[in-house]
Symmetry: C2
Subunit: 207 residues, 2 copies
Amino acid sequence: MIERSKSTDNQMTTEEKIMNAASLVFMKKGMDGARMQEIADEAGINKALLHYYFRNKEKLFEAVFKRAFDKLMPPLLEVFNSDIPILEKIPRFLNLHVTFLRENPNAPQFILFEIQRNPQMIMEFFAPLIHSGVIDQFKEGVQKSIEKGEIRPIDPIHLLVNIISMSVFPMVARNLIMEFAPFSPTEFDQFMEERKTSVSQFIIKSL
Amino acid sequence: MIERSKSTDNQMTTEEKIMNAASLVFMKKGMDGARMQEIADEAGINKALLHYYFRNKEKLFEAVFKRAFDKLMPPLLEVFNSDIPILEKIPRFLNLHVTFLRENPNAPQFILFEIQRNPQMIMEFFAPLIHSGVIDQFKEGVQKSIEKGEIRPIDPIHLLVNIISMSVFPMVARNLIMEFAPFSPTEFDQFMEERKTSVSQFIIKSL
DNA sequence: GTCTATAGCGGGATAGAC
DNA sequence: GTCTATCCCGCTATAGAC
C-alpha cells in the first residue's frame, strides 16, 4: 500500500497539488535529481498532467524556485529595510528567519545549490533586490550606530555575513548537526528555537 | 578549439587525471548533474576508461567524496582535539579552514548537498568521527573555560555551531555574496582573508 | 482536464579491436 | 591500457482517446 502525503487529499486545485508536490521533490532532490514521475505520484496525478499545466520540467522548476524565493525574501527585506536601529533588527531578523526555516527546512540548501548549478539565475531573481539599495541602507545604518557609539567599529559586510551565517547555516547542515550533537528531530527544533535568543545575545555581546 | 584545464597536460597517471577531473565536475554539478562524458573530456581521455579504472559512476563518485572528506577533516580534528585553550583554538581553526576552503571552494557545498541527497552516506563517513569523542572533548574544554572564568557561560554546542557557521557558510554562499557586496573574485578572496581575524575577534569579544 | 500509450533521446555501461 | 562502436534503460515529452 502506498502512503500519500496530504498533497493528494483535500480540495486543492490540481495546479496547487502539483506545485506542492514539486516543491517537496525539487527541494529534496534538486533539479537534476528530481523525477517527473515522482512529482506526479506525490501529487496523486498522472505524469502527462504536469506537462499540461507547466509545459516542461524547466518551467515547473522555475515556478517552484520563484515561489520559494518570494516566500523567503519579503520578510527579510522588511526587517533590513526598516528604520529601526541595528541592535533591534538582529533579534527581529532571527525570529522571522528561524520561523520561516522551520516551515521550509530545505529551502536554503535548495536555493544555494541551484544558484551554483545555474549562476545566471542569480541575476534573474536577485537583480532587482541587489539594485534596490538594501545593502547600502544596511551599511549606512551600521555606520551611524558606530558614530553614535552604540556599537564598536566593525565592517558592516562582515557583520551582515555573520548574522546570516549563524541563522541560515545550521539549517543547511542540520543532518550533520543532528548526527553530531546528537539531536532527535524534536531536539533539533528546540535547538533552533533556542538560537533565536542565543544568537541575538551572541551578536549583541560582540558589538 | 577546446580549452583544457591542466588535468590533461603533465605526467600524472591516468587515475590521477580522472580523479582530478571527476572532483572538478562532481563538485560543481553534484552526483546527478555530472556527466561521465564531461569528466572524460575534462581528463582528456575516453569515457570507457572511466569504467576501466572505477567500475561505475557511483564508485567514482564515492572515491571523489572520500578524497574531499579526508582532505577536509584531519586539520579540523587536529585543532579541536588538541589541548590548547578554547580562545586559542578559534583563530587556529579559522586559519586552517579558510586556507583549505580557498583551495577547495566547492567542497562544503558539495558535501552538504550530497549528505542530504543520500543521508546514509553520513553514517559511513562520519560515524567513526562521531564516536571518536571529539564533540565531548570540545564540550568539556568549554565547560572548564567557563568554570575558570575565562569565558562567559554559553552552551558549547551553540558556540561550536556559531564558529563553524561563520567560517563555512560564506563559502557556500559565495556567489550570492559576490553579487550583493559586490565583490570581484579577488575582492572576495581578500574578504575571506580578512575573516580570519575579523571572525576571531567577533567570537572572542562575545565570550 | 485527465488518462494511457509511446515516441525519442541522452547517457551509463559493455564488447571487442588494437 | 586505451580506443571506437554500440547496446539498452530511464526519463522527458507528446499524441490522442475519453
